[in-house]
Symmetry: C2
Subunit: 334 residues, 2 copies
């Protein structure tokens, strides 16, 4: 019988903890989606938090301090984007050893604050306290639902297509570049920049939530396979991902060719892309894609299809044990 | 020139970080009060977060797991209480090593959730992730302002009296009891219970915020001297605390007598009382105190007076270097 959080894994743990918590009429969407949805008066608020631990989620010597802050902000902003919401404000808690340089914390705050400002939110407050050794940052973000609905993980229908924005796998390739080849290789440098300064799809998420044909959405943070699987699981369906349809741009292709990497495997299993992945009615796919590209000058691709023939994700029709990121089961990255 | 967070101290650090952050029309009250005050539509939200690190803020072997959760919840709830608000929901982020027992985390969540439920809030979501060694918990809480105003630290007027609820110093005596004498000594046991399961003054805070004669408020978390000093500083005034007026009940007096402790010194410098401390117009003091005792069956005492003769706090008219809790300068407690 599993007893430790490692035995349960991140999602098993969340499930156990969620059972303890009482429901409440104010809680429109309970634990388990990208954000909680909370009613205050006649408004729906979105709320999410993300914690980052030094030497687990980042290494101080591998990433500039402002990029630590930027990435922490983006993880939070992307959760709001994944529900189609508008970020409003965040709280930032930081614990660090007493001998931490104030200028280092200031750089983290600068990165955090500039990402928040750029995507419409403000750092409203937080906490600063002491840890014994490693830096810990928690960002709690509050957003608003703007359209008449917000997009949840559940809601995909049989026959819906699976779509994804941008070029997932780029952040994982960027991490590889940072660890191996970042200085001399051009595509590697651009990919490393995507890893260190990703962009949350905030406006894109709002736009998609206004489109009735889009039925469910998530942000790609743990790999396309696992995240599309979350939509399928929440919707009581299966999803078949066609790896050949996963878009790969020139830089990603060149870098992967040079380093013996499989770009599509990176897309399926790599983390921290912060692209959006959603279920869309096939009748709207062409119109949506054209309008989306016109509006955002960003790629959007159909990479799979939802089915009731099985539960969870398959790759090219085959069951797969491909695993994305699990905070309690995966080894630390940079 | 100070360079580390230890050199700056908690409040110096907050001041430095706050300078980096842009202002925003949505941000009614910026960093520095118990809560941030944020406008969303025509509503004012209160927001605050508190981070707790194992072996800095608590020791796993000295406190039951559910009390760790309870105390984390109370720290957050008390920040809402100190502004006169109503808690609505919170987000809980937890980082822990992979070999942490799930049952231990469940106990923490039970304590957290039961404190939130009891004082009108709900755990809406959060994050679970891995740390390398110690447990870290961050609780971000969102509340609403109910009355036409919320009580800030600033706003005390010359001649206002300083009032405090309950018996501050009890939590510090309870910590002493836990470390020395908790099992055999009756008053020690009751005080230890106050340390491990404090009560936030949520209803009391709302009641006080409805009273026009109450001009400023804070919760007592770092000792009465320092916290009253925060009201004075924010209001551009000084405050003279009369130590003889600090209320001491029978249990606290008996425990202190038995252990050679000074109850009033504990009240002035001990932390985690979660009582409310406020500035009140002297014309209302008698009426307020009578109505408060009648409503809450809880003591409220006048323990000082605000003045423009100096800045910051004095004890019995004398400058004092008495220090309360500073997260970067004080040694760990239990």
């Amino acid at each position: 019988m599993p007893r430790t959080v490692e035995d349960f894994g991140e999602f098993g743990l969340i499930d156990r903890l969620a059972r303890i918590l009482p429901t409440s009429p104010a809680l429109v969407e309970p634990i388990g989606d990208d954000c909680a949805v909370v009613r205050i008066g006649d408004r729906l608020l979105l709320a999410s938090s993300d914690m980052f631990v030094e030497d687990v989620h980042f290494r101080r010597d591998r990433i500039p301090a402002d990029a630590i802050g930027w990435k922490a902000a983006v993880a939070a902003l992307s959760d709001i984007a994944a529900m189609g919401g508008a970020p409003v404000f965040c709280l930032v808690s930081i614990a660090c050893p007493g001998d931490t340089r104030v200028s280092f914390l200031e750089e983290i705050y600068r990165g955090l604050s500039s990402a928040m400002s750029r995507f419409g939110a403000v750092v409203a407050g937080g906490d600063t306290t002491r840890s014994l050794d490693r830096l810990v940052i928690d960002v709690a973000i509050i957003g608003q639902v703007l359209s008449s609905r917000c997009l949840r993980r559940k809601g995909a229908k049989v026959g819906d297509l699976l779509a994804v924005t941008g070029f997932p796998g780029s952040a994982a390739a960027g991490l590889h570049a940072l660890e191996h080849d970042a200085d001399e290789h051009d595509p590697g440098r651009a990919l490393a920049e995507i890893h260190q300064r990703p962009r949350p799809r905030v406006r894109e998420g709002q736009w998609l939530s206004n489109r009735a044909a889009v039925h469910a959405m998530i942000d790609v943070t743990d790999g396309l396979a696992q995240d599309a699987g979350h939509i399928a699981d929440s919707s009581g369906l299966g999803v078949d991902i066609d790896p050949e349809s996963i878009p790969v741009n020139e830089g990603l292709a060149a870098y992967c060719a040079d380093h013996g990497l499989d770009a599509r495997h990176l897309a399926l299993t790599g983390g921290e892309d912060y692209e959006l992945c959603f279920a869309i009615d096939p009748d709207d796919q062409d119109q949506m894609a054209e309008a989306f590209r016109h509006e955002f000058h960003t790629e959007v691709s159909i990479v799979g299809r939802f089915t009731d023939a099985w539960l969870g994700f398959r790759i090219a029709g085959q069951p797969s044990d491909m695993r994305g990121y699990d905070h309690f089961r995966t080894t630390p990255d940079a």
